[in-house]
């Protein structure tokens, strides 16, 4: 990419657009701006840089990793993100409260219901509105289905990044069934736009319920079958064990959440640590593992699928009758104030911080995305490993670039 104007950079007046910014060159064409950049872009004896991405099959989106290599060993790594930046937060500031729900949908597009949930919860706090219990149960039910779909896809991806093609074909069977099911409920297969401020957009319908009932009778068997595919595969297990290890305290310091944190032995789950919706009434366990390596992160997600099945089962049995929307005017203008709401998405804590100034548009909507947090520690995890293991570590953290880049 070339540019011709001679505008100086805001960061550093030494950078102008006269220089042809070779954006895909591993080494930037301007002097280092920070301590860390200076340290990273200084080559030692026998070291070299290599670009992985921005288009690479195993980067889960458009991500560039600058690898500093010594032979085939990774010495250090600098992730370059922003290729998918759409400025969702700015767009939300210029949109109606209801419109922001569809704006945040495509962030973590694998589990879009959670993207809607956090901002909607924050708005409900701003408005002091009580959500009907039936709506809460429908939210939990659909979100847990979405979690299973996300974890199923993770399982396939994980194996695909390690070179196994079969599991992704298997896991897509399951994911497709759930996605079709949610399509029957919400009208969309991936970007649902289903949660509303004060409730949900539609009640449970016959199509959804019959698909769900049909799937629930087979789900456990199907998941067990998927498990045997990889868990007994010696190549897979030996490759993953002991790779990308992190301990609980470091993970907490790196602000990790979700399955990645629980794989280090800390039972931190927003559904229990700071209960939202009706999770307090539901009976489920928080699986943990102590190893903190790629295999633990993989196995932990499989354990979570079983817990999600338990939650879905309870939701179906306890589903109360009643309205699915709170009574709210079409045009909402919350009183000036601030609200923070967090949900436990399949990747960790997904949170929204909303500020209202009394108009019908949010003054500020901050989205906290777990993938963004997890991606920054890839460098630490792969130090001293081989290049091929970078993909395994990346896959085990399960980042979604749509969420990282906002």
């Amino acid at each position: 990419m070339t540019a011709t104007s001679s505008r100086p950079s805001a960061d550093d007046p030494r950078i102008t657009l006269d220089q042809e910014l070779g954006i895909f060159e591993p080494v930037p064409p301007y002097p280092p701006r920070t301590e860390r950049e200076a340290e990273f872009y200084t080559l030692g004896d026998g070291q070299m840089f290599i670009n992985m991405g921005p288009q690479h099959p195993s980067t889960h989106g458009v991500l560039r990793l600058v690898l500093k290599l010594e032979g085939e060993q990774v010495v250090d790594l600098d992730p370059v993100v922003g290729y998918l930046h759409r400025g969702v937060e700015k767009l939300c500031e210029n949109a109606d409260y209801h419109h922001t729900i569809s704006q945040v949908d495509p962030l973590e597009y694998i589990s879009a219901l959670f993207n809607e949930w956090a901002p909607v919860m924050a708005y409900e706090k701003l408005l002091d509105v009580e959500v009907p219990r039936r709506a809460e149960y429908i939210r939990v039910l659909s979100a847990e289905l979405n979690r299973i779909a996300s974890h199923a896809l993770f399982m396939g991806w994980m194996a695909l990044d390690l070179g196994g093609l079969t599991p992704i074909l298997w896991s897509f069977i399951e994911r497709d069934e759930i996605v079709e099911m949610l399509g029957a409920l919400t009208g969309q297969r991936m970007l649902f736009n289903y949660f509303r401020i004060g409730g949900v957009n539609g009640d449970l319908n016959h199509d959804f319920m019959s698909r769900l009932g049909d799937w629930m009778t087979r789900a456990t068997d199907q998941i067990e079958a998927n498990l045997t595919l990889l868990n007994t595969n010696e190549i897979f297990v030996r490759r993953m064990r002991g790779l990308g290890t992190i301990d609980g305290q470091t993970a907490l310091q790196m602000c990790w959440t979700g399955p990645n944190l629980r794989a280090t032995g800390l039972p931190f789950d927003i559904r229990r640590a700071h209960p939202f919706s009706v999770y307090q009434e539901l009976d489920f366990d928080i699986p943990t593992r102590i190893e903190g390596d790629c295999l633990a992160r993989y196995l932990l997600r499989l354990d979570e699928i079983k817990q999600s099945l338990r939650i879905i089962d309870q939701c179906l049995h306890r589903m109360p009758d009643g309205p699915i929307m709170a009574k709210l005017p079409r045009l909402i203008r919350p009183r000036p104030g601030r609200a923070y709401a967090a949900v436990e998405s399949p990747r960790g804590q997904y949170a929204a911080y909303a500020i209202s100034d009394g108009t019908d548009q949010p003054f500020r909507l901050r989205i906290h995305d777990p993938s963004f947090i997890h991606l920054q520690s890839v460098g630490q995890l792969v130090q001293g490993q081989l290049i091929a293991d970078t993909m395994a570590v990346m896959a085990s953290l399960d980042p979604v670039m749509g969420g990282v880049d906002k």
Binding site: A10, T34, E35, V81, F268, G337, A339, Y340, Q349, R366
Partner: protein
């Protein structure tokens, strides 16, 4: 929030607080100045009475008059989120100490706040733009940054955004900027 926790907050952080301890729903809110960030967050993190070991979120905010950095913390001693607002940063040169010495994971969140608001986090060893390209000149989430302004320089110049706030282009930013008392 129980009274004990409120009193404990006021007792330990008293002189550093620039406003009353507020509570709404499940959120406790305290306000500090930029100078108090290091001490207050270290106390909250290290003190066995608080144990706020988990940084849930770090956000920059432009209120139109001042800049803020907002920290959300979680601890097992209270059922609520704790919101710490570092208030009153100047819009011309917002500066605040980095918290990467407590939470290394704050590094990218601070880079994001720098990229979007131009807030300088002193002590962050990797404070460069993260989303926008390095030669980018403005800070997109500031309130004096309008979407049409950006479009004028972009390949899609001239396209009016549907959600655009209708402010005359000739108006000086000081009069047309959206503000809040936050």
């Amino acid at each position: 929030m129980d009274r004990v926790f409120r009193r404990r907050l006021e007792a330990r952080l008293g002189p550093k607080l620039t406003g009353p301890v507020r509570q709404r729903h499940d959120e406790t809110e305290i306000r500090i100045g930029a100078a108090g960030v290091t001490d207050v967050l270290r106390t909250l993190h290290d003190d066995p009475e608080f144990r706020f070991t988990f940084l849930a979120d770090l956000a920059g905010v432009d209120t139109g008059t001042v800049m803020q950095v907002v920290y959300h913390l979680w601890s097992d001693v209270t059922p609520d989120w704790l919101r710490v607002i570092a208030d009153g940063l100047s819009r011309d040169d917002p500066r605040v100490p980095s918290v990467t010495f407590l939470w290394q994971g704050a590094e990218w969140q601070e880079r994001e706040a720098y990229d979007m608001f131009g807030i300088t986090f002193e002590g962050n060893r990797d404070l460069r733009r993260i989303y926008m390209p390095p030669e980018y000149t403005s800070f997109p989430l500031r309130k004096d940054f309008y979407l049409p302004d950006d479009a004028a320089r972009s390949p899609g110049a001239g396209i009016r955004h549907m959600e655009q706030v209708h402010v005359p282009r000739s108006a000086p930013p000081a009069t047309s900027i959206r503000r809040i008392r936050a």
